[in-house]
Symmetry: C2
Subunit: 261 residues, 2 copies
Amino acid sequence: MKITQLGEFGLIDLIHKRVISKDKRVVVNLGDDGAVIKPYSGRLLILTTDTLVEGIHFDLNYCSFEEVGWKAMVANLSDIAAMGGLPRYALVTVGLPKSIQIEDVLSIYKGASRIGREHDCKIIGGDTILVPDNLFVSIALLGEVEKKFLLTRSGAKRGDLICVTGKLGEAQAGLEFLKKYGRQKLSWVRKHLRPSPRIREARILVSNLKINSMIDISDGLSSELFHLSETNKLGVIIYENKITTSTLSLKLAPLIHRAQL
Amino acid sequence: MKITQLGEFGLIDLIHKRVISKDKRVVVNLGDDGAVIKPYSGRLLILTTDTLVEGIHFDLNYCSFEEVGWKAMVANLSDIAAMGGLPRYALVTVGLPKSIQIEDVLSIYKGASRIGREHDCKIIGGDTILVPDNLFVSIALLGEVEKKFLLTRSGAKRGDLICVTGKLGEAQAGLEFLKKYGRQKLSWVRKHLRPSPRIREARILVSNLKINSMIDISDGLSSELFHLSETNKLGVIIYENKITTSTLSLKLAPLIHRAQL
């Protein structure tokens, strides 16, 4: 069924039924002018937002609606992770073309809700609007962090080691692979479609090591090193042989490259 | 200059310079992965979000970029007002078509920032993204409310009086007038283009009267009465002669109607 047949309020009711969850700190949940929560005393609040737009950030030819919701949520969860925090509550806004099916809208919320809950982050509000053309998903997220664990992009010191979590290049390889060969059930394709936010890794790091600065590198190593360098007015030295490039990406690179020729 | 010439980071720098403002509670302001603030102890947090899309919610033929930013912010401020709260911090996301001029992007932020500041609400983050077609502005807002002042859509009791702030119909008349006669500097046109959120009125009401329920009626009296009725499982009786319809709207109605024939 198309959303225009059901109407906005009917759609909102369905979304609420799918994503609503009990939470002692939520005083007013989905369905009012706003959501109301009790703050956790002694912690700072983190606010972040990220938006994915069809034709710019994703292509429905090789990305499911559920994966779009998942990725939009992960973009936000990663921002919270980069500050050493814990994600808590999300507002999920969807811009919907008239032709979209109700099940597809619910899949977007399902994807966002699933990966959110894995990291204790619940959807407590949002907005559903019609758009003339391209679908978009915009999420705003409230997180928390103990003052002692808060890290930002600034704070890096001369002599700091630069480290990354995980192997680099698989998500990009997954995207290139999808573009050339269409949808495949492969691990590096999954890294692109269902990325995993570094919430737990970041919490382990900030609570066990003395770290001066952190940043989310989903835009790629080089651009984020540039940000760190600019913000901290420090140079960076990169040893090519020490970059934790995924061996899979290295194997895939010539394959993708051949297909492009 | 077009945004594609300046690049995303150049644009973000310009936006930061225009909207950043000092605030003792803001620990991390614009420019990091997220914004960080100190919560005000003893108050509940309100989270809300609203989005305006070109071609659906506004028409750039009779709406300036500054007014688009203003209206998007007011949609959010009104939600906070409807709950008896105080707006505090906003994340402003803009979806920008390639052809947009930098000055126009800055005007959107100017409009949002101006009306926000009038109500003590500061922009502390957001996102700038390219979109294939229509411009959009999506704002997420964090507000606060003392528990004793929090009001929701539910809570209405049998026998309650239903009251509105202000005169109804002028914003709608302004929109109709703009559609027929193009841009005009008239008070009812201003009501449509630069609406005023009811923050102060709501605070006076909740701190001086015993009110059971409140709702934002920017979608119109009838649809919001329907929500109140549904939520509270109560009927409503409306006395036509007691609706505070704007005399201006009544005068304008036949004029607009004639033009439509």
